[in-house]
């Protein structure tokens, strides 16, 4: 009796034996179906490997070109491994010889003659002439070929498309604007030498940070460069102002020390002593009100009240040492003009003109002044702390305007030299409103003398000096 037929399983021994001229055809059909199962499971793996391989290739070419051969090897290994895994998974669905035989005899209309002949009932049927046309299955090439082509295209694109290496990108790191970097170096040096107090250093660093908050690709725009240049100029001016104030305060402290050592002989001497003390207080006040504060030592000694001669001398030394630290901190910087710093390096008397020597009478530096003071030409009587209008408070005024419908409120700092870095010199309540109707200029006899447009001058003035020179050269031809 025939054994129970189990589709998809091999025929029971002794019951169904495929043979004869149909054996290889049944085997071919079985192989075709099994290959189809294997492909249908493997193709998604191929797509996954293709995507991962594409990503890995691009990353390898970007990070390290030496890894590219390894990536290709990995892709090949992954394809082989997934092919084996797909075969293992598809194995449970593989077609048996008996099942393929049923499919073939049913499709060809052989009236189950193969199954009968396989067990010895009747002869093997003759293969029909149109066997290939009536073959039970056909490949759907679209999906596998399309998918493999897609993966190949992805890998090819990943292999040949231009990819900038990470090293190249590293060389293209956008450096900080030169002026901002210079100011940073100045602040680092000043902090290292303790030439300024920490608060002043942090204030400058905050301004640098504000400047660099903008996107990197906009660091080198005109406005950014101008702001950085302005910060550098302002910082340099603040340092120079601090240096001068320190020198003036040191000279005043030395004068006070000397006057306290000498016993007042007359009323004028007493007045001179009082004047020296007042000059010291004024200098210290200017030092405290300045945009940049001196170092901790000088500041501490300057805050001591009721000085003794020794304290005054120590104060003078501290102030002078602070000035020297300023110079030392900036000595290595090629960007800083050291000549802008006060240069009094000693406790010289001559920094205060005596008024009696020939040099004083001739209007030259006092003969008793130190060499540095003489070289710098910054001596008392030529812009000392007792000169000028004194403190320069911020004042607010109303300004009439021809354009605005209401008066503009303006804050003015009348002493630009004492303005802190970034301090608002002028605030105008109004925007940039170029004239809609251009100014036609003076007319004489119907001829237009100046057909300039409104706002043109402002835009020209905003150009950098070098750019202005270029514009001038261009229009001078």
């Amino acid at each position: 009796m025939p054994q129970p037929f189990a589709p998809g399983s091999p025929p029971a021994a002794g019951s169904v034996v495929t043979a004869g001229p149909w054996g290889w055809r049944i085997g071919l059909l079985r192989t075709q179906i099994n290959a189809g199962w294997w492909l249908s499971i493997w193709l998604p793996f191929v797509l996954g490997v293709g995507i991962a391989g594409t990503f890995a290739l691009v990353c390898a070419r970007w990070q390290a070109a030496g890894l590219v051969p390894w990536v290709w090897t990995g892709i090949g290994v992954a394809l082989a491994a997934t092919a084996a895994a797909a075969w293992f998974i598809a194995r449970s669905r593989f077609e048996s010889q008996a099942s393929a035989q049923v499919l073939l005899e049913d499709a060809l209309g052989l009236h189950a003659r193969l199954s009968a002949a396989a067990v010895g009932v009747g002869p093997w049927p003759t293969p029909p002439a149109d066997l290939s046309r009536r073959w039970p299955v056909a490949w759907r090439w679209g999906r596998p070929v399309g998918l493999v082509s897609l993966v190949a295209a992805m890998l090819t694109a990943a292999a040949i498309m231009p990819v900038a290496s990470a090293r190249g990108l590293a060389r293209q790191v956008i450096e900080k604007p030169t002026d901002a970097a210079v100011v940073e170096r100045w602040v680092d040096s000043l902090r290292k030498e303790q030439a300024i107090d920490e608060h002043s250093a942090e204030s400058i660093e905050q301004k640098i940070d504000d400047l660099l908050q903008r996107p990197r690709d906009r660091w080198y725009e005109h406005a950014s460069l101008e702001a950085a240049a302005s910060l550098r100029e302002q910082t340099a001016a603040d340092i120079a102002a601090l240096s001068r104030t320190l020198a003036e305060a040191a000279a005043a402290a030395s004068a006070v020390s000397r006057s306290m050592d000498e016993k007042p002989t007359d009323l004028s001497s007493a007045e001179q002593n009082a004047a020296a003390a007042a000059a010291l207080e004024s200098a210290l006040a200017a030092l405290a009100a300045g945009p940049m504060q001196a170092g901790q030592d000088a500041t501490t000694k300057g805050q001591q009240a009721g000085r003794s001669p020794e304290q005054a001398k120590a104060l003078a030394a501290a102030l002078r040492e602070n000035a020297n630290r300023l110079r030392r901190a900036l000595a290595e910087s090629e960007e800083f003009d050291l000549t802008t710093l006060a240069t009094c390096e000693s406790d010289c008397d001559g920094c205060q003109p005596c008024g009696t020597c020939a040099a004083c009478r001739a209007g030259r530096p006092c003969a008793s002044a130190c060499d540095a003071c003489k070289a710098a030409g910054r001596l008392a009587g030529k812009g000392g702390v007792s000169r000028g209008p004194g403190s320069a408070p911020l004042t607010f005024t109303e300004r009439e305007s021809r354009v605005a419908t209401r008066p503009e409120q303006v804050a003015q700092q009348v002493d630009p030299e004492r303005a802190a870095a970034g301090e608002v010199l002028e605030v105008i309540d109004g925007g940039d409103e170029p004239e809609v109707a251009p100014f036609e200029g003076p007319q004489a006899g119907g001829a237009v003398a100046d057909p300039g447009r409104g706002g043109a001058a402002a835009r020209i003035d905003n150009l950098l000096p070098a750019e202005q020179d270029s514009v001038r050269r261009f229009f001078s031809r």
Partner: protein
């Protein structure tokens, strides 16, 4: 290449020779031609009746009156030189009127009961309008035909061989009828619908027939010849994959199967046997030594249409058993395993 093993040779299946198959096919073809001269334009019906006859099954014919059912049975009986009887079933028909009755007879001064055979004792019985008889009478007839014997007064009386019952029922005028229950329907091998005649057939009937005159029917073979043919059918080989196909088809009608939506009761194992027998008969009629998938598909509807009971909702939706069988054959291929999507079953 592997060859048939010794074990296979030892367990060689019953088989017929190609010559025997060809001879049987020639006889069947002759019978088909003869019956074609009796009943015009009903070749498919004639084929199925012959297949049912060869499969030793009883056939339920459903069709309107006057379509030639009785003529077909008479023609079949004459062609096979078999006895035939016709019984018009009515509600007052008793079981004994079919199977026979014991009659008290006096002979030689002694009285005794003698069993008088009923009309079921024939080779071909036409039970006209079977659904008009009471269930008791229907059951008696069908039981006798199923068992191929009648038991009365403790004695078993075998029916003549071969015996084939052809019952008819009218799909209209159902008032006062007793529809056959599923258990009785299951005893019929086939349920065949007798279609109406088309114009060409009617024209041929008008030209060649006359009311009250029976057509001449040539004798094809006798009862012994038919028995030999029936024996050949039993020896037609049933390949294992074909048997598997039959089994999956019948299992596919069971409620709960994916292909049996709307089915209340599925086909019984007897249906599987009927499919196998009919497939073998059809295979032999086609001159083959084995049954084939095509044979199973051809006889699936006549075998299954009266064995599957649809639920109420499915009937309301217009589902019929014929459509269910069609759906079943589409869903269940001979090859019982899926094909990969990358390899389309382009020609299967």
């Amino acid at each position: 290449m592997p060859t048939t093993t010794d074990a296979a040779a030892a367990a060689s299946p019953p088989q017929i020779t190609e010559d025997e198959a060809r001879g049987a096919a020639a006889s069947v073809a002759h019978l088909r031609r003869v019956l074609g001269g009796v009943l015009f334009g009903q070749d498919d019906l004639i084929d199925m009746v012959i297949v049912g006859l060869l499969a030793r099954g009883h056939i339920l014919l459903e069709g309107l009156p006057g379509l030639g059912k009785t003529e077909l049975v008479k023609g079949l009986a004459r062609a096979l030189d078999l006895a035939n009887k016709r019984v018009q079933f009515t509600p007052d028909l008793l079981p004994g009127d079919i199977t026979g009755n014991p009659v008290l007879e006096e002979a030689d001064g002694r009285r005794r009961f003698t069993f008088h055979q009923g009309p079921v004792f024939t080779n071909i019985l036409l039970a006209d309008e079977l659904n008009r008889a009471s269930p008791k009478t229907q059951s008696a007839l069908l039981e006798a035909m199923q068992e191929r014997s009648v038991t009365g007064m403790g004695q078993t009386h075998p029916l003549p061989r071969p015996v084939v019952g052809l019952a008819t029922q009218n799909p209209s005028e159902l008032e006062g009828t007793y529809p056959l229950p599923e258990a009785q329907l299951d005893r019929f091998l086939f349920k065949l619908d007798v279609p109406g005649a088309d114009v060409d057939t009617l024209e041929r009937i008008v030209l060649d027939r006359e009311i009250g005159v029976a057509p001449d029917v040539a004798r094809v073979f006798d009862a012994a010849g038919l028995e030999a043919l029936l024996d050949l059918v039993r020896r037609v080989y049933m390949p294992v994959p074909v048997a598997n196909f039959i089994a999956r088809l019948v299992a596919g009608t069971q409620p709960g199967a994916a292909t049996a939506a709307g089915v209340k009761f599925g086909a019984s194992p007897r249906a599987a046997l009927a499919l196998a027998a009919a497939s073998k008969a059809r295979g032999l009629a086609a001159g083959r030594i084995n049954a084939a998938y095509e044979d199973v598909r051809a006889v699936a509807a006549p075998v299954l249409r009266h064995r599957v009971v649809l639920d109420y909702a499915a009937r309301l939706e217009g589902l019929t058993t014929d459509r269910l069988v069609t759906r079943l054959l589409e869903a269940i291929p001979a090859h019982d395993s899926a094909l990969p999507t990358s390899l389309a079953a382009a020609k299967v």
